[in-house]
Structure formats: C-alpha cells, structure tokens
Subunit: 458 residues, 2 copies
C-alpha cells in the first residue's frame, strides 16, 4: 500500500467508522508510514482516525508522532481519552510528551492519573536531559532467580502486551538489586523446570541512570546487547534502554558533532543536544540564518587580530609585496592541518577511543606527525617560493610553513582536550574557530620570520 | 571480574585443561571482554584456550576478534579444527574471514568444506563491498504460512542454537519469495493452534541485497526493526540484517564522513569505507601522516591560484597596503560560510533528508540565507573597515564580504550535489577543498572590487 492508497483507506475508515477495517489496516501498516500519511491529513481527521483505533494501538502509535502533532491531537481529546492514553503509553514516551506540555496542561493532566503513573512521570521527567535516565523506559518486566523457565515464559506471555520488550528480561533480588539477565531465547531453549538462577547470566553489564546518553552507544555496540539494564547508584534496577533508542542516540550525537564542528550550532554545554537541526529541508530560513550567523560574526571580530598583526608589519609588507602572495597559502595550510587534528581528536573523544588522560601521549604523537607534515609542505611550497619570490623569500615561506602547520596541528589537537577538561563539548573546537586562531598566529609567525631574515629598509 | 582476574583465570584453565571451568568462565563473560583479555596474551595461549572451548562458543567468539588475531590463531589450527570452525561460524563472519585470507589459504580451506558451505561463502563473498549483501548473514530460519504457532515455536527452539536470531522470523512461499514476518513475541502470545498466515505481518518491509549499506540504517531506524529481511531483485529471501550490524554501519558511516570532510581520508568512491581510521590512539604515525598529507599538499598547489590572483593585483596592493589587513578576514569568512553549507548539505544527503532532485529548491533557499549572512557580516566588518582604512576602504571591504560569503555558501551547498551526481562521495567536498576554492575566488572578488572603486595610480 503506498501513501496515497493508505490515506484513501484511512478516509474510508473514518467515514464508515469501521473498527474491523481499522484493525486490518493497522496490522499491515508500519507506524512510520501512518505518521507520514497523517502529515498530509487535517488534524481533525487524524484525531477521528486515532479515536477509532483500539487503545493498545493508538497509545503505541502516539509515540511515533512529532511533538507538534502530539500536542495538536491532544487538544482534541477529552479527559477520559487523555487518561486512557497516558495509562497505556510506553513510559519513556509518556514522560517525553509530559515534558513538552505547557504547565497549564501538565497541571490539568497530572491529577487525573493514578498515583503510580504520576510518580513514574515525575521520576522520569526529573532526570536531566541527556543523561541515560531521561531516555530509559520503565515499562519492563523482571523475574526472580527461583522461578523456573516454564513459569517465566507464561508470566512474560501474560504481560507481553504491556511492556517494551520480552526478549531480554532482568532478574532482581528482594531489594530490587540487579542480579542477572535472561534472554527469551535461553528461556525457550531451557528445560521447562530448570531454575532461572541456574542459567541466567550473572552480574550482567549495566548502565547508570546518571551517565551521559553517549555512554549507552558504546556499551550496546561493544557488547551487542538488545536491551541494557539501567541502575541507580545502589545497583537498583530503575529502567531499561533498548537498541532502537541507541541507534537514535548514535545518529543524533554524530549530527550534533557535525553541526558544532562546522560552526552551525551554538550550543556549547557538554551534553546539550536540543539545538540539533534534524532537517535542513524543513528548517525555516530564519532558523538556518540564526544557527550560522553566530559563529560567522564572532569570527569576523576574531579576525581583527590578524588585521592588527598585518598592520604591525606594514613596513615589511611595503618592502616585499611578494610576501602577500603567500599569505592565503600559509594561513590556509595552518587552518587545514588544524581542522584535521581537531576532527580526529573530537571524534576520538566522542567515541571513547581516547580520554582526558591520553593528552600527553597524543601530544607527543601529534608533534611528530605535525613535524613531518610541516617538512613535506615546506618542501612543496619552496618551489612556488623560488618561482614567485626568489631564494630568500622561499626560505622565509618554507620556514613559516613548518611552524604554522605545527602550531595549527597542536592547537587543533589540544583545544578539544581543553574544552573537555572544562566540561565543555570538545566539538565546539569547530573548524572556523581553529582557522581563526591559526590565521592570527600564522600572520605573526610569517611576518616575524620575514622581518628577521629579509633586509627591511628603515 | 576485571581484566586482570579474567586473564589469570584463563591461564588457570589452560594449565589445568579444565573444560568444566571454561564453561563457567564463558557463561559469565562477554565476548568483547574476552577479546580484550586476548590482546594481552600470547597467540599460543589464546589458541590453547580457544581449542579447549566448546565449538559452539569458540565459533561465536571468533567473529568478535580482530582480523589480525583471527589470522594468527588460524595459523595454529589443523585442518579438522578449521573445518569445524567454518561449519559453525555465523555465515556473514565466515565470509568476512574468508575474504581476508591469502589466496593460498583460501584454496587450502575451500575443498575441505561441504558443498553447501562452499556455495554460501562464495555467494556472500561475491557481493561488492558496501552493498547490503556483503554484510547480511544467511544463518536464519524461515517459516511456512500454513504452520501453526506451536509447531513454529518448537521448530525455532530446535534450531535456535544454529541461527543468528529467533526474535523475528520470515515467512516464505514455495518459490522462497518473502510473504510475511512473525515476531517471537507474537508467536508466544498467539493461540497454539492458530496459523501463521492469520497473524503474520503481510508484505513486510525488506532491503535489497544490491542496495548500498547506508540504506539499512534509515530503514531499521525509521521502522524500529530488530531484523530486516534481505531479498534479491525477484523478492526471493537471501539473507537478514540485524540491528547490531546497523549500529556498526551507522557509526562507521558517520566516522567516514567526518574524516573525509576534514580532509583526513583520501577515498573518493561513493561507497568505499575501507579507509576509515577506527582508532587514532592505535594508528601508526606513518598511517596518520599518509592520511593527512594528501589533501594538504594538493591544497598547497591549489593555493597557487590565490597567489597568482594576488600577483595580478600587485599595483592595487602597493597603492593601498591597508587592503592586505582585510585579506585573511574576507577569505576566511567565505571559507567559513562555505564549510557550514557543505557540512549541512553532505549530512542531509547522507541521512536521506534531501536527494539530488532537491538541488534547485535548496539553491533558492541557500541564496536567501547567504544574502542575509553576507549583509550581516558586511555590516559588522564596515566598522573595522572605517577604523582601519577609512570610508572608501570600508565600502570595498563590505561589498566584497557580501559577494565572497554568497560565493562560498553556494559552492559549499552545490559541490556535494555535483559530486553525488557524478557518483562520487559528497563528503569529499571537504572543508579544506571548499576553503581553497573560496580563497582563490575571494582574492579575485576583493581586488577586482578594490581596483574598480579605488583610485589606482597608473
């Protein structure tokens, strides 16, 4: 069924108010396809369709909709519908929805929920954005170590409709401490009367609710987990994270770094990712303008340092205009080498390849690489130097190239560490920033070397 | 158990040749932790330990090891061990291992395998690198539409040990065409005698074996799939892709784009990702040098165009040395605006937010944004211009700023489209490349405007 067919069968269902037909549509359509069809329908129609759906389906589907559409549809709902929806929604998505509501709406909804739901929402909403607690769900089942495989399977079968996943279940003791994990596969393969404690994985790997969201990506990837348990500081099980949350986090984190490093995101706090553009196609011109102008204007004023440097060496430049030929080349090379180092370092810090204590080691390595790069590029530029300015100028340009490339590389490598050290996001060491620093210092290096080697008339 | 304890218990097992002890270790240790322990042990020890393991475990673990370690351990194995290992390994990892072997080794191993295994390896190895076929696995079970739930569960239970996952199983007809999918959850929740065809999802979403690997990320993410079926051009089921492969692909693709865009990767073919650095901590200095010097030297020669431009305007510069003050600022701003556009466009193309046919629409949008950016920056720079050079120079600098920022933005936005059009990777539109183009053209724009506005002595 393509989108057009889907929309027309949705219209049919709304007209005939046929609940039987709706179940058929839902069974063979993915939530994301429904969401895309909704985007081309009127809000009133979407609401009519959703209110005909079985609650089990509508509460699941609701989590797939964009925030704006969720709020619009909520507007059509009466108290009873909202209450039922909130009872059935997956707990992580329910907390997200609650978080985007106006305070007035929150105050109206909270009292109609049960005590347990209120507490769950408040608990999940209380986690700072961008810690694992804020994306975990509390819709999960737990098992006890003294249950047998058969009992466990029938228990899971009974509650499967209400929880996020039954494929990995966690085992807790009487204090709700995490003691083991059991996959549905191992439950199915086990003898029916064998005890969980005899075949569960003991001391499973777990995530802390207070850890930054990025942590879950590395753990789930390295350990090939489908679901990871989340515990508090006392090893009490408080939630789960599923692989699909992790795919979303991994992609969002990467986009965030791309945007920060190209100077298209102004967010500098370490775990703030609310500013990530998810679509440049849909983004308004004013949004894109605001995202980009910030760094660009800062860098205009940053570049005043380069101008001041050049002004200081006006006499040298007047005597040897040929030096100007090499200015873009030299400062550009420093910026390029610096951007390379910065990108490699930022990503290595983001993926956990290196951490703060590796700085000294990386500095030594970077120094060696930068020296090699500088020497190679000095050699390349010396020919251009001889051709355009003669031997003396070639010497000045080659020497400058070595020091500028080394300076750019070291700054590009060290700045992300420094930002990280001060709890800022290393990705703020954007290419534009590195380029501007290298420009200003490059000017000084170049004209200082020129002034000391060349014969400047007083 | 930390790494040190793990290594010491591995040493114990090797000494006592205790198979019972080994099963206990394997049950409570994750493959990735064993792999890390192996990295600190001698190859002979690792081999001794692996040969004591039950085949089921060693064949699974083998896929987690690095290529180099796999080959080293293979060297210790006799024909029988290799044959057994190849029989039990997951099919995608077996094909990967086969691909990295020397031809001599391949020719020695192929004849000792069964006909079916030979064919499977050859089929999986025949897919081009970076299409979905090359990362899919053929270890999966299928069901028939006329089986009932109980039969299906006992069938899956029997073969669960040999296949990659039983959580989503695909239903095929007599021609092996994909007709449905069934989750283990729905099997467990269904009445034991209900038929698969009555509760399976009909026409499930599927991937094509010949599609690029990036495609699987978007499909698995949008549809929240655990496992996606892979079909050939006739809708015949040929393999499956699991969520963990997708997490790996998503992360590798993002790293590849980071490295290309900062000019630290020389690969330009669209789906080539063999050149991705996975760790800068472990990478040799010579590797990092080679990755980085390529673009840097190209750009040195690319910058000859900027130098030539400057040389052409030597008289203008001699007459107004103050123009030089603004040179780094103007060309830097163009490069910054261009890098921003390029990053946003490359990522939007990579994530499927936009595609080739959106170029005209994006161009219109970019023109508006670039005009706004240029005007704002011209305004900012006009103050610096008046202060450092007077009103005339300020006019020249402000006008140049508008055109240079517009030029940089349009090139940054269009180059990724152009590369994509010619089947090259859009990420090759790296910041260094954009910067160099903008430098050269920026010089021409700036000094042409200066020459036409200012009074140049003949």
């Amino acid at each position: 069924m393509n989108k057009k067919e889907l929309i027309s069968s949705i219209h049919n269902v709304i007209e005939n108010r046929s609940k039987k037909e709706i179940v058929k549509i839902l069974h063979n359509t993915y939530p994301v396809d429904l969401k895309e069809a909704f985007e081309e329908m009127k809000p009133q129609e979407v609401f009519n369709f959703i209110s005909l759906m079985p609650l089990k389906n509508s509460s699941e589907l609701f989590g797939y909709l964009d925030e704006q559409m969720q709020l619009t549809i909520l507007d059509f709902m009466d108290r009873t519908m909202i209450k039922e929806l909130f009872e059935k929604m997956p707990s992580d998505e329910r907390a997200d929805l609650f978080n985007i509501m106006s305070e007035t709406l929150q105050d109206r909804i909270l009292p109609i929920l049960t005590k347990a739901e209120q507490e769950d929402i408040i608990k999940l909403s209380s986690y700072e954005e961008n810690v694992i607690g804020s994306i975990m769900t509390s819709n999960y089942a737990t098992l006890k170590a003294n249950m047998n495989a058969l009992e466990s399977i029938s228990y899971l079968r009974k509650i499967a409709g209400d929880i996020e996943s039954i494929y990995e279940t966690f085992v807790i003791n009487e204090n709700r401490e995490l003691v083991g994990s059991v996959s549905l596969k191992s439950l199915i393969m086990a003898e029916p009367d064998s005890l969980i404690e005899d075949f569960m994985r003991k001391n499973p790997i777990s995530l802390k609710a207070s850890d930054p969201v990025e942590f879950c990506v590395k753990v789930i990837q390295d350990y090939d987990l489908l679901i990871a348990p989340v515990v508090d500081e006392n090893n009490i099980l408080v939630g789960i994270i599923t692989y699909d949350d992790v795919i979303d986090v991994a992609i969002e984190e990467a986009e965030e770094d791309f945007q920060k490093m190209s100077g298209t995101s102004v967010e500098v706090s370490k775990h703030g990712n609310t500013g990530v553009l998810t679509s440049i196609k849909d983004a308004a011109i004013s949004t894109l303008y605001k995202k980009r102008i910030y760094w660009l204007v800062i860098l205009v004023f940053g570049n005043i340092f380069s101008s001041a440097g050049i002004a200081y060496f006006e006499d040298t430049i007047s005597a040897y205009i040929a030096l100007v030929f090499f200015l873009p080349l030299l400062i550009g090379s420093g910026g390029n080498a610096g951007s390379q180092s910065a990108t490699l370092t930022v990503r290595a810090l983001a993926t956990g390849d290196i951490n703060l204590k590796d700085w000294a080691g990386m500095l030594g390595k970077e120094l060696m690489i930068a020296t090699l790069l500088g020497l190679t590029m000095a050699f390349a530029v010396s020919f251009v130097g001889i051709f355009r300015g003669g031997y003396e100028i070639a010497l000045v340009v080659s020497l400058s190239m070595i020091f500028i490339v080394m300076f750019g590389s070291i700054v590009g490598m060290s700045l992300p560490f420094l930002l990280s050290k001060f709890k800022l996001d290393p990705a703020s060491a954007s290419s534009p920033l590195i380029t501007s620093i290298t420009d200003a210092v490059g000017v000084l290096i170049f004209f200082s070397i020129a002034t000391s080697i060349l014969d400047i008339p007083a």
